[in-house]
Symmetry: C2
Subunit: 219 residues, 2 copies
């Protein structure tokens, strides 16, 4: 590996750390350079602009997410085990030592929800990919008989994701030490509600997500 790419990588690592703690907006080239013992201009030369640096940080984190969270889950057998693995990997990722300030993608997502531009576009595509992966895993779960056919897979993805957000909030902001257990409990309930009508444990119940058109009073 070149010297250039090498320091570029170390810059990205330090930048990820900083962005994790202070957000993308809180990431300044000056402080980043000081942390690394580099000059501002020397660091700057590696990326050409602040926006390019932010994009590079985001891309790096995103690729790492695929590597650590998504990819290993596909070694699990299709269906419920894969979904469970996706969930556990995500929690692990969220409290990884790699991100002392929490998942930078989630932080960036909430930071950029009203700031259009290529960075938001990229994040959006990645988030949709993530939700698609969950929904697709749910669809496979149905086809292998781990879930009821009436289950709404988009709804499952929504709730899967919601539990993750709730966990992140409880863990990082509230510092609730039982956050992970609560997230696990919520996730188990979610899967349980999706179980086929004749599972080996638990009584039958009405599967969720079948009520596409329902009575909604307002809106």
């Amino acid at each position: 590996m070149n010297k250039g790419n090498q320091t570029r990588a170390s810059i990205l690592a330090a930048a990820t750390n900083l962005a994790s703690k202070d957000g993308l907006a809180g990431l300044s080239i000056g402080s980043l350079a000081k942390d690394l013992g580099l000059s501002k201009s020397g660091l700057f030369g590696h990326f050409g602009s602040k926006d390019a640096l932010l994009m590079a940080v985001t891309e790096a984190a995103s690729e790492r997410f695929v590597e650590l969270v998504m990819r290993p889950a596909f070694k699990e057998p299709a269906g419920r085990p894969r979904l469970e693995r996706l969930f556990e990997n995500w929690l692990d990722w969220s409290e990884s030592r790699e991100f002392p300030g929490g998942c930078p993608i989630m932080a960036a997502t909430l930071e950029l929800d009203d700031q259009p531009g290529p960075l938001r576009d990229y994040l959006l595509s990645q988030q949709q990919r993530w939700l698609d992966t969950i929904a697709q895993a749910a669809r496979i779960s149905i086809s292998v008989g781990h879930m009821d056919e009436a289950v709404d897979c988009e709804q499952v993805a929504f709730e899967f994701n919601a539990i993750g957000f709730g966990y992140h909030f409880s863990q990082r902001f509230l510092r609730d030490s039982s956050a992970r257990q609560k997230a696990r409990t919520a996730f188990r309930t979610l899967l349980q509600n999706c179980a086929p009508t004749s599972p080996k444990d638990g009584p039958p119940e009405s599967p969720r997500g079948a009520e596409a058109t329902e009575e909604t009073n307002d809106e």
Copy 2:
């Protein structure tokens, strides 16, 4: 009302707007003054420091939250209706025209999870109050027979909150037009899972939250 308090109020309103879109970190006195047609120093004099301004914005939003979300829910009968009202009010609040960039409290929460100080302390106390309110409403629901006695109310608060976060994400970042419906569905499922063992509709099921000590492999 004094002239001073009057402009102070208008400053707070404009600042809330700005913070809603760009986050607390993105709120600058210069741009705020320009928006209002004031001088920087004139605006500055009302608060004495940037931190004080941020705190004032947060307090104002928090008080408004109590007024618009929490308070009206207590006009509903105790139990399930109150919980439902809390939830709907929260969703309404989240997409209120008052906050073009989404709930500033939620944004601040995710922004400050690693920045200790009085502002974080205040937000933490408010968030805990919010979660306590939900848990307490669940406890009352049990006592009036709307929920099973085995229900873990802290767990309910966690999931209630998680659905709200998931909604905020889907609505504001993904721009998913069915976000609200998904959130409603998730919430209805949550309540359904908490129903007493002999409800008038739906088959019996194992109530949640009773598994305090369980097998957890790692961690």
